[in-house]
């Protein structure tokens, strides 16, 4: 090692990092910088603390002093005797009605409950494909048929027939794909229809074959009805929205016009009028002897409504992609369907996630509008059979708070999922 006599001292080790000066870290520092950094800030902090105190001082006694065991509101008032507690007995006494409606047979509550539990096996493979093996999507694919059978009951031949129809239709579609998209779609629809008709006749002849007792649509109610409408309409309206968005961009004038007219018409009409149409007017458009289920009519209307909104959200995502992406896909020889499926839609949908989730959350909450056309969903149940009964007239806070919590849990879950998904799909920085 060369000696350098002009240097008096050479450090041979790196200086370890020194701790920051006191007051730059820790709770005291955090309070100083975030809560009382200036006079206005300190005042805002004081006001904030007071508001929180005021809310909790009302809320906590309401919950802690509440009663859960009385049979009606008069007993509630005696028990509570002005203590400021809540009358939560309405929830213990009527929770089943709030969840399933008042006409769903109570001995069959296990069926929708089981369907709900199975939802937690059916949905994750679709929502978390990066963590779960692909074959688990079978559960997702089978779920609609199983859930239908559990909730509505009847012979198992009906859902099996429906599933067989879908599979035959899909098979025909893939086999005819080489003759062009229109031929494939037509063949698929015809194939599915033939199978459905055949199974319809078989199921009609053997209504007791491995049957659960049938429950009619008009007996569905409570939060179950909101969940049925929400899950079905969200999962139908996203693909329909994609088709509409692509159709609106199409270079074929007829397809474009149909899509534009549909989207603009549906967006220009309030959902509530569409629901009234579903309830009353739609029956005139079907053959006189056909009895299209009310829930099905409502599903069609809500799906159309939110599909139009989702289509516009996705159109925004499509417009945000640089034309270079289309050109690169074209220049590699990908055909239209491949370019859309592999290049354009994955990126456009990623951009559209916040907008789609916004529509989905709105749709789920809008399912409560069916209470206006005298369906007894959660809101309909509370407004009707519960609050207008002599036992529970006037128990507003407790019932509506329960409804809020149920909706909030689902909507917050959807929102959190979408934030997580956006993080997963981010590829621009790591």
């Amino acid at each position: 090692m060369a000696q350098d006599h002009s240097t008096a001292f050479v450090r041979t080790q790196e200086i370890p990092p020194a701790p920051p000066p006191p007051g730059e870290t820790g709770a005291v520092h955090w309070i100083k910088t975030n809560l009382i950094s200036s006079v206005p800030n300190a005042i805002a902090t004081a006001v904030g603390i007071y508001v929180v105190y005021w809310l909790l001082s009302g809320l906590i006694p309401w919950i802690v002093n509440g009663t859960w065991v009385t049979n009606n509101i008069r007993e509630c008032r005696e028990v509570l005797a002005g203590s400021g507690g809540g009358c939560f007995s309405v929830l213990t006494e009527r929770y089943a009605q709030m969840l399933f409606g008042f006409e769903y047979p109570s001995e069959f509550y296990w069926r929708p409950s089981l369907a709900f539990a199975l939802l937690f096996f059916a949905v994750p493979p679709a929502l978390f494909p990066m963590y779960l093996p692909r074959w688990m999507l079978i559960a997702t694919g089978l779920y609609p048929f199983v859930a239908f059978w559990l909730i509505w009951g009847g012979t198992i031949l009906t859902p099996i027939g429906a599933l067989a129809g879908v599979m035959v239709g899909y098979y025909a579609f893939t086999k005819l794909d080489k003759y062009g998209f229109a031929a494939a779609l037509g063949g698929g629809v015809v194939g599915a229809w033939v199978v459905w008709q055949a199974f319809g006749m078989i199921a009609g002849g053997m209504p007791g074959f491995i049957a659960l007792e049938a429950v009619e649509s008009r007996n569905m109610g409570g939060f179950m009805l909101n969940m049925i409408l929400g899950v079905v309409c969200v999962s139908l309206s996203i693909p329909l929205g994609i088709v509409l968005a692509l159709g609106r961009q199409s270079s074929m004038p007829l397809i474009k016009i149909v899509c534009v007219v549909f989207i603009e018409f549906v967006r220009g009409v309030p959902l509530i009028t569409l629901l009234f149409v579903a309830n009353v007017v739609l029956a005139y458009f079907f053959p006189p002897d056909s009895n299209i289920d009310l829930i099905l009519r409502v599903i069609i209307m809500i799906t159309m409504f939110s599909a139009a909104y989702i289509a516009e959200v996705i159109r925004g995502g499509l417009a945000a992609l640089p034309t270079g992406q289309y050109e690169a896909a074209d220049s590699l020889g990908l055909n239209y369907a491949q370019a859309m499926r592999l290049i354009i839609l994955p990126q456009a949908l990623k951009i559209s996630i916040p907008g789609i989730v916004n529509v989905a959350v709105g749709l789920f909450k809008d399912t409560t509008l069916v209470s206006v056309i005298s369906m007894f969903d959660l809101v309909g149940m509370i407004r009707g059979p519960i609050l207008s009964s002599t036992d529970w007239a006037g128990v507003y806070w407790e019932t509506w708070a329960f409804a809020c919590i149920l909706f909030f849990v689902v909507c917050f879950g959807i929102s959190k999922y979408s934030q997580w998904l956006e993080g997963q799909l981010r590829t621009d920085r790591h």
Binding site: Q325, S331, L332, L334, N335, Q338, R429
Partner: protein
Amino acid sequence: MTDTAVNTSQMQISDEVAISIQNMNKWYGTFHVLRDIDLTVQRGERIVICGPSGSGKSTLIRCINALEEHQQGSISVDGTLLSSDLKNIDKIRSEVGMCFQHFNLFPHLTILENCTLAPIWVRKTPKKEAEETAMYFLEKVKIPDQANKYPGQLSGGQQQRVAIARSLCMRPRIMLFDEPTSALDPEMIKEVLDTMIQLAEEGMTMLCVTHEMGFARQVANRVIFMDAGQIVEQNAPEPFFTNPQNERTQLFLSQILGH
């Protein structure tokens, strides 16, 4: 003039015609972008197209793989006539590779997936084989270690080299380059040009729209000068640069070589 270019070329050029454009015209609305273009490209030829901006050079090569439609005249690539028939268009596009000014990699796919996508879906190559091919070409453009990154994590020069590899994975017989170095920082231009030179040395038929005149001198058999939608002058690089015939060519060259 075309004949001299072919005869004086130092490398193997067959008599086989790769691209034949006859009397082609194109309009954007009422604006006449390309006028009476006649161009024959032999297999193995390397052509550099230059000219002032707005002269139609990018539009010309984009017509060759039908990214732009032409209204009059005919284009045939490898004997396949380019018409509105989608089958022919897809066939031509899978034979013709293209690199863009802004790379146009697919940002949601890894480098490897970018390279294997078209072979798997268009050529129906098995995934494993497509990945091997992709790695071969990624090694060729000298970035195999980036295969599992996303395009957004690479530099511009690296992205353009990936774009070249992505095109090569389709085993194209013709490569089109649309100003491949114009969007790059100066220190990254060389790495992309080196890749293109390597490709040229292997005998790839290439049409490059570029302002890199050094590249043109080094690898082109023929330099084409376009202005106002017309091919004004074409010649082998040496006579083209030292003795331009047309006034507009002289003016253009004096402007870009002057500093």
